[in-house]
Symmetry: C2
Subunit: 680 residues, 2 copies
């Protein structure tokens, strides 16, 4: 050898038993080498050729391993690692509205987002991800944390129609997003983006604002589309069309868009996404765990869509392991189509690398090992028991080994933008130990918050919003087994009783009973209000009412009930509330009610002609199956004195109605029904 | 402290932040301890209580970890780790009959089974399995390997109706099984068992023999049931009932039975299994990867069946990671029922431990941490980034962390029967390094075997069986665009031509064309043979014929074709063959044929009145879409001389039939069609 080495000096040369380029030809080198200069891949090729051509300052031999492009996580909510395991095995709405959103409203701050993203980065690096996508709040903190960890990231600032942890209104959110994008738009690692959250959480105004940003700055737009069948149905009902054409009309696909989930799309919607080069982020773990459904991935690939793979947030997954997501993509795609040749190994590895980069509109920068691209790469050990044996006959067998038998622990080394983030499983840019301690401290605060909130039924009710406290007294009595028809006819002929107005109702009450110190009773009422004459439904009311048991005072012919109660509109389903409140017992009381508002003795009363129908206790029908007729007389009051006067008027009225000898009942229907059940 | 320590001396005391007993009350201790004496659990409880009561000779503190029962793998084929990654992304039949079975027939020996089981044991121990179930050949070698690795195992000797690597007949297999069971039936680790493979691979005699063994020795019986919809359909067709009642009738459930897969069961079948206390082994990875379908696990649990979890063999999974199988059990169960509350964390951990032990009829010995049971336990680290943070509010959150966020690398320590098999991820009973080297050498031999087999189309054809070589010559000619009706009418009036017999056929030929040195052509023919008069189908023939291109000799009005060809019955589908043979091109030729066997000049000829119909090349329809009428005249011969004579007779016949001026075609229909396509 002469003094002047003919080889070109380079920063780093990395060799391994296999190099998978994931370029257009799927070129493989075994053994192979990757040459890195600065932040860029200078060359890729057979080991011998590369060693002959280049003189590296740093040399790494990964041995019996694969060097391949780093994995591209196309959808997630990094800071939500801090909510991992907070609440599992629940319905999406219970999980989201009962736990995640109240906790987010209380705890999400810029530091929360930074801390969560740092931990997420540690987990993602350890499982071979080099690029991730984020959609959350305080996105600048997410971006900061990603840069500190050295990861490439698309950080999309969420914009929603309602207030969020980081914005009091959507106008404020859009101003914040613009500000953030302006400052980050030329960053070497972070691609700032805007994320109108989902069709059902935005308005056309929100979308227009987001589109303006994406077009003005050329930054990507990230959005959830068609995650659940329910949301798709609601969208159709509301707008008369599915989400994709609606979004298209509003210009959402004019820029560089990526749509997460896409579980429930029709063929036309897929074609629209294709036409606009919208990337798709498939999230198998999340879609399975939350029972969202199975995305038509094979079909999307068939028509030519770029489908990447994502982990979604750790609160719904519950890890950020792209290797597991790859395997699930294949497994789920095979069983869903009943075709074991669907989503074969090489195709899925492609989805997790270069196709994922295309879905994020980042394929000129990352996703494959090609000269000129950024040096984003990982090495994965094949030197493991679970990689034994090695078959070489089928050229795709290396992909098969990676997809079907690899675990995250096989990832040895990770480089992003020419910088090592992990070497031999040792993290170099993030130290998780202090971060974990802080996350655990935060978790204890969140635990406390939820424990306090769940301590009483009332605080759980308050937590989901819309509650108003109603403080009043009510004098009431019921008379059982009344001939309602005869009574109603007589009522209207009595000159002492002045008819004000009336209605007919079907009331479906479900009582959640709690063995707590207050004997809490939460009533979920569906109230179908009909016009007394025409019988047409004039109103549908869904309300939650929290009451405690106990009478204030008993009179001769009536009782006084204190009604310190809490009312809230019931905007979610009975099933939601039952799972959320977890009552000790459930009793259903169904009644048809003809209600007469009358005046008697210059005092307003409600006379309810009720038929109490079939009921269930704890899901089983009770003996109270046939209709029982009751007359109920009620009047509101705000003082004991007034109550006594009204109790006297009720006694008079019972005589007038010839009911003074009747079978008086001084309890609520719920107790009537429970008593009936207990007597069986 | 006095001289006599009041504490009871014991062998081992193990502590950790969490101890999950998986007993009937799901008792947990945090922190907790397990006390081991010999091969048995002496006590389990709160750490402080145990430390006060016992004086251990060996003390292990696992720290921030969970101690729990070892995982119970209820179904698998351990030696098949040696075939992992051999052939993926294929249909079940192609995979099984095209690759796995030929390789097994060639390579499976007792040593193969021992080697594979040793490697499987290493992999299973590393992922927290303490008990596994095996169903394979040379089961004694499997049992030997399990004992050497220190694992608990149900080792079920396969019995099939056809010859297997370890038995020339089922009688021989049953004798071998009896012999094996007799020798192993009282082993402390291995439970010998008998495995009639599946309803479709056994006969009633095989089952009776297996039932005799299970009843005589009280050993378990292991069987595949209802893995695929196809097998279920075939069973119904053949026996007029589903598999479960058929097996029940034959006494299969009289002993301690475990049924693997159970993907396609009806409600009645589930109830029958319940009635007979048959355990079920659910294999989510395998069922997804092979597209077998989704087992109704939620329903099975609802009616009370004991459903365990299994990995199946590594050739169809492709790993033996029970932690992944647990997570998939939950994920798949949720998405299949569209109910995110289905298969919650604690239930699935139960399935993988005590319920799995019940499914194997081993629950008095293992599956939970209870005094008196064998000491089969593992510790799993919670001290990982992916286990951050820790929420403690929900008592089931420890199960949720285990199920939804754990990876096999979290398993730190494994003990079976009171003996450590792994400590701090270091294997103590198996050294995989020399085993892996041997497995890789074997893989290279298997590669060579398959490469040679796949080198020629003929050897692939031979490999799947039933091939017969046919050596003959054929003189033939075709005349294009003939008025077939007129010709047929004339033919029957000619005194020179003696009609022998006739038939009408619809022939659907698919040619697989190969660019190999022989220009191989493999024809898959579906031949519907109809009676010439009635038009009724009298026969259906499916045949594969391998031919080479090339004419032997050309005559004036005909050609001589050498027909050194290979015939085999085609018992599988066109799709199977296409995937198996991977032709370079595919051409379909469809024809309706009226065939007349006639005698002319004291010589037998076949006159085919053919209409060549729509054809496709490479899956696309060609221009040859309309029917083209041809007359084909053929005669077989075994010598050149005879061929010349017959060529002369053909010329005479053409004059007689007034076709001598016709448009002669001296190639096969395949070439006619290809020529037509090329001319487009």
């Amino acid at each position: 050898m002469g003094e002047s080495d003919p080889r070109q000096p380079v920063d780093t040369l990395i060799t391994a038993a296999h190099v998978l380029t994931m370029n257009a030809n799927f070129d493989e080198y075994a053994p192979g080498a990757v040459v890195v200069q600065g932040d860029t891949i200078l060359d890729v090729g057979a080991e011998a050729t590369m060693l002959e051509a280049y003189l590296p300052r740093n040399r790494l031999d990964c041995g019996n391993a694969v060097i391949m492009p780093g994995l591209v996580n196309t959808h997630g909510h990094a800071p939500m690692v801090l909510l991992r395991g907070l609440a599992d095995d629940l319905r999406l709405d219970v999980w989201l509205m009962g736990y995640i959103m109240p906790v987010e409203a209380e705890f999400v701050t810029p530091h929360f987002c930074w801390l969560g993203t740092q931990l997420a980065a540690a987990e993602m690096i350890r499982s071979g991800t080099t690029t991730f996508t984020d959609m959350y709040y305080y996105e600048e903190a997410v971006a900061d944390a990603a840069v500190q960890a050295g990861m490439r990231a698309v950080c999309a600032q969420s914009v929603l129609k309602f207030p969020t942890p980081d914005a009091g209104s959507y106008e404020e959110a859009l101003i914040g997003a613009r500000d953030y994008i302006t400052r980050w738009k030329d960053h070497p690692l972070v691609v700032p983006a805007v994320a109108p959250h989902a069709p059902y959480t935005v308005t056309p105004e929100v979308l227009e604002g987001a589109v303006e940003l994406t077009l003005e700055f050329g930054v990507p737009l990230h959005i959830h589309i068609a995650e659940t069948a329910h949301e798709v149905e609601e969208h159709r009902e509301r707008y008369g069309m599915p989400a994709v054409p609606w979004l298209k009309k509003l210009g959402v696909f004019e820029g560089k868009a990526t749509a997460a989930h896409c579980v429930h799309l029709d063929e036309g919607e897929m074609r629209t996404l294709l036409h606009h080069n919208v990337g798709v982020a498939h999230n198998p773990s999340s879609n399975m765990k939350l029972s969202s459904g199975i995305a038509p991935v094979s079909r999307m690939l068939e028509i030519g869509l770029n489908v990447g793979i994502g982990t979604d947030g750790a609160a719904s997954n519950n890890d950020l392991d792209m290797i597991e997501e790859m395997r699930l993509t294949s497994f789920l795609g095979k069983v869903a189509t009943m075709d074991p040749t669907a989503l074969p190994a090489r195709k899925v590895i492609e989805m997790a690398t270069i196709m994922g980069a295309r879905a994020l509109h980042l394929d000129t920068i990352t996703g494959s090992l090609e000269p000129g691209k950024r040096a984003d790469l990982i090495s994965l050990s094949l030197d493991e028991v679970h990689h034994t044996p090695v078959f070489a006959r089928d050229p795709d067998s290396i992909y098969s080994r990676l997809l079907y038998a690899s675990h995250q622990e096989d990832v040895l080394d990770v480089m992003v933008n020419g910088v090592w983030l992990m070497r031999d499983r040792r993290l170099l840019t993030v130290d998780p130990t202090p971060l974990r301690a802080e996350a655990d401290r935060l978790a204890r605060r969140i635990d406390q918050f939820l424990i306090q909130r769940e301590e009483s039924v009332l605080s759980k009710l308050v937590a989901i919003g819309g509650v108003a406290q109603v403080r009043s007294f009510e004098v009431q009595v019921k008379i059982k087994d009344v001939d309602l028809e005869t009574l109603e006819a007589r009522l209207l002929t009595l000159p002492e009783i002045h008819f004000l107005r009336g209605s007919e109702r079907s009331q479906y009450d479900t009582y959640f009973l709690f063995d707590d110190q207050w004997g809490s009773r939460l009533r979920y009422r569906e109230d179908e209000v009909r016009d007394l004459e025409s019988g047409e439904i004039v109103d549908l009311i869904y309300r939650l009412t929290l009451m405690n048991t106990g009478k204030e005072k008993e009179f001769e012919n009536s009782i006084l009930l204190s009604r310190s109660r809490f009312d809230a509109p019931a905007t979610r389903s009975l099933r939601f509330y039952q799972e959320y409140f977890k009552p000790d017992r459930v009793v259903a009381v169904q009644k048809s009610r003809r209600r007469f508002h009358i005046r008697y003795g210059n005092t307003d009363f409600a006379l309810n002609f009720d038929r109490i129908g079939s009921t269930t206790i704890g899901g089983r029908a009770t003996g109270f199956a046939e209709d029982h007729p009751f007359l109920e007389i009620k009047s509101r009051t705000w003082s004991q004195q007034d109550a006594e006067r009204k109790a006297g008027l009720i006694s008079d009225m019972l005589i007038l109605l010839q009911l003074s000898e009747g079978s008086l009942v001084k309890v609520e229907y719920l107790d009537v029904v429970q008593g009936s059940s207990e007597n069986r």
